[in-house]
């Protein structure tokens, strides 16, 4: 009894921290258009997982995402959030329970960072102290110094603004986040950093996330599950990244994931996943070295650039723990 009381008072909101999402033959047909924009989309996203919607432009991925918070109305079928149809909800109230991040971020230029983050808490009528505490928590979570609170968005860099956009979406601890190409406008180097940061964040917050992108590499990196859509808003395949790369269901999916899908699969695994060859009698001779967290793709690349000979894996203290060969890496692709 004591425990349940504590759990309730500690929770930042009354929502579950993550909720399952289900598309049930969700369809969007625009008036005057013969073909639907989204055609009987059915898929389930378990609570706490990242579902990436990916596909060529015009495949309806953004439309599908925007139907979830009713920015676009569903024509046919249904979408259930935590088992409840979004069609039965008041749109404004529904949206306050769903974090929303768009590519252009859309921070309010006339409000400070703190006021931006406080948008949804204010709509929900939170007390000042609770909001202030939450703002501090979120700034810490996204790794921004506390003194940005009173700055305006115009005074921040693109990457900082992007992170504030994520913090603002997380403010009321929504059980679901919708992210529409959130890193699309960021330069490649910063994009990779933000992606890594976001994955670290997601491990902490464990939200259900619908993530839209046109970039298959980003989809493979970010997604627990990937839904590939084809033109006309039809679902081509819904699978884990690994299944998608090993068992593409048809020619379209195979083409979309690319000829280099073996390499992409390697980028999903790390040296720590391998059973290393013994390093008995190995003498170091100035060759490049690998670490436990090196991806197999990078490991293979290093081995190839060093003439295909096995390379040593070093522990933090500089000890060689074993060797990695090309055969060892390619063997992982056969499973």
């Amino acid at each position: 009894m004591n425990r349940s009381n504590t759990a309730q008072s500690e929770g930042p909101s009354s929502y579950p921290s993550a909720a399952p999402l289900e598309f049930q033959s969700a369809t969007k047909r625009y008036a005057g258009s013969a073909k639907p924009a989204v055609d009987e989309l059915s898929l389930e996203v378990p609570a706490g997982e990242v579902c990436v919607l990916v596909g060529p432009s015009g495949c309806g991925k953004t439309t599908a995402m925007r139907m979830v918070n009713r920015m676009i109305e569903i024509t046919d079928g249904d979408i259930l959030l935590d088992g409840r149809s979004v069609r039965d909800r008041n749109p404004a109230e529904l949206r306050r329970e769903i974090g929303y991040v768009i590519q252009q971020i859309g921070l309010f230029p006339h409000l400070t960072i703190a006021q931006n983050i406080a948008t949804v808490p204010r709509l929900l009528g939170w007390e000042k102290e609770r909001t202030a505490k939450r703002i501090a928590e979120l700034l810490d979570l996204i790794d921004l110094p506390d003194d940005v609170r009173d700055r305006y968005p115009g005074q921040l860099s693109g990457g900082q603004r992007q992170r504030v956009g994520v913090a603002r979406a997380l403010a009321a601890d929504p059980p679901l986040m919708l992210m529409d190409e959130p890193f699309g406008a960021i330069d490649p180097i910063n994009r990779e950093r933000l992606q890594d940061e976001f994955l670290r964040l997601q491990r902490e917050i464990q939200k259900t996330i619908v993530f839209v992108t046109h970039d298959i590499d980003e989809a493979i990196k970010m997604g627990d599950r990937i839904a590939i859509l084809r033109e006309g808003g039809k679902l081509a395949q819904y699978a884990t990244p690994d299944d998608l790369l090993t068992k593409p269901e048809d020619e379209f999916v195979a083409q979309f994931v690319g000829q280099d899908r073996s390499l992409k699969r390697l980028s999903l695994a790390r040296v720590s996943d391998l059973k290393l060859l013994p390093a008995d009698g190995f003498e170091r001779n100035g060759e490049p070295t690998l670490e436990e967290r090196t991806s197999l793709r990078d490991a293979l690349s290093l081995i190839l650039s060093y003439g295909g000979k096995p390379l040593p894996v070093l522990e933090e203290d500089g000890q060689v723990t074993g060797l990695v060969s090309t055969e060892l890496i390619t063997a992982t692709l056969e499973s």
Partner: protein, 240 residues
């Protein structure tokens, strides 16, 4: 040459100083003698004319802006009608109104307000139209209602353009309000200007009233600029 000199009628202000008799550039003593009973009341009247015209014009333009924001069909006819009003020569408009509403404060206000509408409506609607679409999208996506989007996001962001419109309208009204005296309405700084012209281009009175009108315009403009600075600190805070 002679004809020109002959045409210059020097007013006969019996017992006036030599500066006044010679129609000097600016007779300070004459001006200070008239400050209390002529210029200060005229200046206050002028300020009242302007303030009331801007207040009413703002109220009407703002209401029309909200209507046009809700329904796109409202915009074009409002722009057309206010545009027609704007093109009527001010002297003609005062002249047309006098038989209807008389030589009154109301007549001046009707004319002045009708000139503010186009400027204010255009600037107000432009301000709203220039709100970045992604900001609107984010606001809606976070669960702000239509009304909340308008009052908490769109109008605050439109404020710089709206105040810019107010500044133009205010300066315009201050300048136009002087014309009212020409049709015989006894209101504002136009009265001493008209009096000076009728009295043979008496320089001191002309300059005094003119300078006061210009000073009023500059003062009002700076005041509104200050208001904008205070209300939109974010507009200055852009680093890029």
């Amino acid at each position: 040459m002679n004809a020109l000199i002959a045409a210059t009628v020097v007013p006969n202000f019996g017992g006036a100083s030599s500066c006044v008799r010679d129609n000097g550039t600016f007779c300070w003593s004459w001006f200070s003698g008239r400050w209390g009973n002529t210029f200060w009341p005229a200046l206050r009247q002028h300020l009242l004319l302007t303030t009331v015209a801007i207040a009413i014009g703002t109220a009407i333009a703002f209401g029309l802006t909200l209507l046009a924001h809700r329904d796109r069909r409202v915009g074009p006819p409002v722009t057309f009608v206010s545009g027609v009003l704007y093109t009527i020569p001010s002297l003609a408009l005062f002249q047309i109104l006098v038989p209807i509403t008389g030589l009154t404060f109301l007549t001046v206000e009707i004319a002045l307000v009708s000139y503010t509408l186009l400027i204010l409506f255009r600037n107000f609607t432009t301000g709203l139209a220039e709100v970045p679409s992604e900001v609107r999208e984010a606001a809606r996506g976070m669960g702000l209602t239509r009304r909340q989007v308008l009052w908490r996001v769109e109008l605050p962001l439109a404020l710089p353009a709206m105040i810019a419109g107010l500044r133009i309208a205010t300066v315009t009204v201050i300048s136009l309000a002087t014309v009212a005296a020409l049709v015989g309405i006894n209101q504002g700084l136009g009265v001493p200007i008209f009096d000076a012209i009728q009295g043979g281009a008496f320089k001191t009175e002309l300059f005094a009233a003119g300078i006061l009108a210009v000073a009023l315009a500059i003062g009002a403009d700076l005041l509104l600029l200050g208001v904008q600075r205070v209300l939109t600190p974010w507009a200055k805070a852009r680093s890029r």
